[in-house]
Subunit: 198 residues, 2 copies
Amino acid sequence: MGRTGSERSGEILAAALDLFTRLGYEATTMADIGAAIGVRGPSLYRHVASKQDILAQIMTRTMTELLGAHRSALAGLAGTAQDDPVERLRRATEAHVRYHARHRREAFIGNREIRSLVAPGRARVLTLRSEYERCFRDLIETGIQAGRFDVTSARLASYAILDLGMGVAVWFRDGGEPGEDAVVWQYGQFALRLVGAR
Amino acid sequence: MGRTGSERSGEILAAALDLFTRLGYEATTMADIGAAIGVRGPSLYRHVASKQDILAQIMTRTMTELLGAHRSALAGLAGTAQDDPVERLRRATEAHVRYHARHRREAFIGNREIRSLVAPGRARVLTLRSEYERCFRDLIETGIQAGRFDVTSARLASYAILDLGMGVAVWFRDGGEPGEDAVVWQYGQFALRLVGAR
């Protein structure tokens, strides 16, 4: 049975994600990516424009998924929790940490290869990153205005929370202790403590 | 006036730090490093064994400096503060954050190029990193035992504090606002809040 174009694109991105993680973006060739999924070079180009295009797609997808996870987490809050700055920041942090525990290679590549990403993909990814950071900063500013958080700089607090969550992608191991749920819960606590939630 | 061997070694490391940051370790050649300081390839080898040796020296020095800054910060505590877990963790975090605000390229390379580092340099750097992490974990455990901190996992708290401090190296800019001292102070507060200091 033939694969659809979208299935093939998914395979290409998955193979590239693996190769970029192991060899690095610069050292990986389109031929390596083709060989990993049993496709000759030329027919790869029916699905992706270039290696740069693949890198842009991987990084854009990572940020789109993170933003989606963020919105779902907040949309999932029920009743009064929906407007509670404490519950909103807890949920947003938990979604952030869970994503990084589950997508360690995407986080690694986003971090390591951002310098290899050029226009126009680079601008798109940086815009999405700043949009995502803005979501956290807004949550914190809302909490400060509501008198629920005690923070001098919402920007620094948002950076600190995002950075400790991204760190999870570096050290977390499946099957290790504490497990994903325990890490997610504790990091949610860390974030609330960090902003002086009450 | 001729340069001493140690001055020359310092120049080589400084040039390599710059090139590794801009081009990446893999893409930088020994000839690039030599050209940057006006030394032909062969005479570079009187000072360093290889490009790998340079990378190992840069990363080892970074960790040695961090450990040194940590010890000096704690040694600088006066009177009763010397045994106060809260003051000790505050000082240690401040030293960690200040180092990362001032050594952004070293942090970037330590993060990006650790995969390019091979034996025996790799083992040495990983040992120093784990020693440094252990310092923070010990500070937190001591605070828990003294009833001053309220933390479920000292390990997770140490990771979170180290990661938020390393994040500073990514976003901090000289001359930006808030400045270095304000960032250092606020991050010290973040760390104390994170461990539930009282």
